[in-house]
């Protein structure tokens, strides 16, 4: 869409190569943005300081000055900045989201990441040169859905929800002209993004509506004779025995009872997605970008994860047949992973 962006994606004249895989890294703050750029991110994605993005946490995200500084920092080094406006505009205030589109377009970002069709319509009507990416919150898991957004809004890239197997990702790629971005690393949503209201059921706030999941203000920790308890708006999410590591009470990652089976992770363990080992397959099937989750994480996390993934992508691109995920990469990533463990998630069929 954006001629500048398009041309920068094209291969050099006379060289018939598929465009290289982009590394898309999170930034919840200016220091995190700089860490991402300094450690090799091709693109950095960020959000404004309000409910227009899906990491709407206190102390996080960008005001006007920070975003301008951030864009300059990235552009000076040949990197891109993407702005996530990926919650759903609420009935009482669609103007807030429209204003956010205005601010993003006028600040010169390289693309906006959207989920809501009404907002996409606004964006293409007012800023026809603004490049649109379909957010994972748009829940587009099949080519018909992705092509829907392409046909109506010229969406250039779609971020796939973390629910498809490798084969299914390939099936999507075969039938859409839209670039595909997949999650490579970070906290794992076990539910289809954009189709989960568990958090609002318990706390009144959720990703679609407020840009949060299991928000900190609903969390209570309590020491009890049975152990340390974590509660979300009063609902017991987990209880830890002495010596057990306590994790953040994301409500789908607690331990519950189902039938005779007591105290198990009925929905999902606290774990991170890590697809380093799948990189050659993802690259071969034409996945255009790898997304790293974690705008709520520290600049140190961003630096560590970006560094490992930069090295892995370069290594895989140069030697796809000899590539394997180095143990040191895996251990470096596990150090910053949720629950200090990782999974291939839905890419690996048995996970389901």
């Amino acid at each position: 869409m954006n001629p500048l962006t398009e041309s920068s994606l094209a291969p050099p004249l006379g060289v018939a190569v598929t465009p290289s895989m982009e590394l898309v890294c999170p930034a919840g703050s200016l220091p995190a943005l700089k860490a991402a750029v300094d450690h090799g991110a091709d693109c950095v994605y960020l959000g404004f300081r309000d409910a227009t993005n899906a990491r709407n946490f206190a102390g996080l995200n960008f005001d006007e000055a920070a975003i301008n500084t951030g864009i300059r920092y990235a552009h000076d080094r040949g990197r891109k900045v993407l702005v996530a406006l990926n919650t759903y505009p609420q009935a009482a205030s669609p103007q807030v989201w429209r204003n956010a589109i205005d601010r993003a377009a006028q600040s010169g970002v390289d693309a906006v990441i959207l989920a809501d069709p009404g907002l996409m319509h606004y964006a293409v009507t007012h800023y026809p040169n603004l490049r649109l990416h379909l957010s994972v919150q748009g829940s587009a898991t099949n080519y018909e859905a992705i092509n829907f957004y392409h046909q109506h809004f010229g969406v250039a890239r779609a971020v796939l929800p973390r629910v498809l197997s490798l084969t299914q990702v390939e099936q999507v790629l075969e039938k859409t002209p839209v670039e595909i971005e997949v999650f490579g690393f970070g906290s794992l949503c076990v539910m289809v993004e954009g189709r989960c209201a568990l958090s609002s059921y318990v706390t009144g706030e959720a990703p679609n509506t407020n840009g949060v999941c299991s928000p900190p203000k609903a969390v209570r920790w309590q020491e009890t004779p049975q152990g340390r308890e974590s509660r979300l708006n009063g609902v017991l999410i987990d209880r830890y025995a002495a010596g057990e590591n306590a994790g953040y009470p994301t409500l789908c990652k607690g331990r519950f009872d189902v039938g005779d089976e007591k105290n198990y992770y009925a929905i999902e363990e606290p774990t991170s997605l890590n697809t380093l080992s799948l990189l050659p397959q993802l690259m071969a099937m034409g996945v255009r970008a790898i997304k790293i989750e974690g705008r709520q994480r520290s600049p140190a996390y961003v630096a560590q994860v970006t560094k490992v993934w930069r090295e892995a992508i370069d290594n895989c691109r140069d030697n796809p047949h000899r590539y394997s995920a180095k143990p040191v990469w895996m251990s470096d990533l596990d150090k910053v992973a949720e629950g200090q463990q990782h999974t291939l998630g839905a890419y690996h069929r048995p996970w389901k």
């Binding site: 759903y88 099949n142 859905a145 289809v192 059921y201 009872d257 189902v258 007591k262």
Partner: protein, 322 residues
């Protein structure tokens, strides 16, 4: 094209002119039951005063007790009984095979379709009027207006939306688009590629042994304080509590809501339909009906979402289930 589609616009206008006319719909069956149980369930439903019935498998493509042809058979039977029938599409479409089924439903040529995924909306755009299901995330007027241009004839409010936002939507909604509200049942809150029912049995999803058949109303997940929290229904996660907006029917009528949706359960669905109908036709009071309903609900009631609160809360005192 067919009766449903031909009747659409007139019905819509009639309901907007006649504030008393709030239609009753039965949502798609969210659970997996034996084939005979499904047929007999819809036989019972055919005899109730429900106006609209949504049919089809919306949760998991592995559920095959009924194929599309079977659903179409039930659809024909219900239409003979005077019901408007809508075919609902699967919410999470993952595989090529899922897309093929979607294409067949979209091209059925006989019954209106409820799109539960934008892929379905893509297949239906410009071809036939359709229903925008509750999972399409239509949270604001500009999006509803834009979707109406694709052929949306009715939209189902997202579960999370409260009455204040609904009122705004109603003020701005485009001409000729009906509004439907999920008004009774355990709420389908989340969808996953993972099957939690199979996981409970330590089975992989691909070899789930159709475990869902053993749980006609899903599998209760409790907190470690034994409080019913969520219900595992294969790849879908539901609220344990039963959303019940029966006391809000007058408010919905005042706002110009056209349809209220009751979600099927294995027991007492026909009675629930009759109880809603009694209140809608002003034959019975809300108080008496809530009393009668208490023993028919699989769990305690909740209505938090309607008031803009956490969904599991119950803001007006109502009788506890028996």
């Amino acid at each position: 094209m067919n009766e449903t589609l031909r009747d659409g616009p007139q019905r819509c206008c009639a309901s907007q002119l006649d504030p008393q006319h709030l239609k009753l719909a039965l949502g798609p069956l969210l659970y997996y039951w034996q084939r005979d149980a499904v047929f007999s369930f819809y036989e019972t439903i055919a005899a109730t005063p429900v106006d609209i019935v949504y049919l089809g498998e919306t949760v998991c493509s592995r559920r095959h007790e009924l194929r599309l042809a079977d659903w179409l058979g039930i659809a024909g039977r219900l239409r003979e009984a005077g019901k408007e029938v809508v075919l609902s599409t699967q919410v999470l479409i993952e595989s090529g095979a899922d897309v093929t089924v979607l294409h067949k439903i979209a091209a059925n040529g006989e019954f209106m379709v409820e799109a539960n995924d934008m892929g379905a909306a893509h297949c239906l755009t410009g071809k036939a009027p359709f229903v925008a299901g509750p999972h399409l995330n239509i949270y604001n007027v500009p999006t509803l207006e834009w979707m109406a241009g694709l052929g949306v004839k009715r939209w189902v409010m997202p579960l999370e939306m409260g009455r204040n936002d609904l009122a705004l939507m109603q003020q701005g909604r485009p001409q000729g688009v009906e509004t439907e509200v999920f008004a009774y049942g355990r709420m389908p809150l989340a969808f996953s590629a993972r099957c939690f029912t199979a996981r409970h049995r330590n089975l992989p999803k691909d070899d789930c042994q159709f475990s869902c058949l053993d749980h006609a109303d899903g599998l209760m997940m409790r907190t470690r304080e034994s409080e019913g929290f969520l219900v595992l229904n294969g790849t879908q996660t539901q609220s344990a509590r039963v959303y019940n907006l029966l006391p809000e029917l007058d408010a919905m009528r005042d706002m110009g809501v056209d349809v209220v949706r009751i979600s099927p359960q294995s027991q007492h669905s026909a009675e629930i339909v009759n109880l809603f109908h009694g209140v809608l036709t002003q034959k019975t009071s809300v108080e008496d009906t809530m009393q009668a309903m208490a023993g028919l609900m699989p769990d305690q009631a909740c209505n938090g979402y309607w008031y803009g609160k956490p969904g599991l809360e119950q803001l007006v005192t109502q009788p506890e289930p028996a």
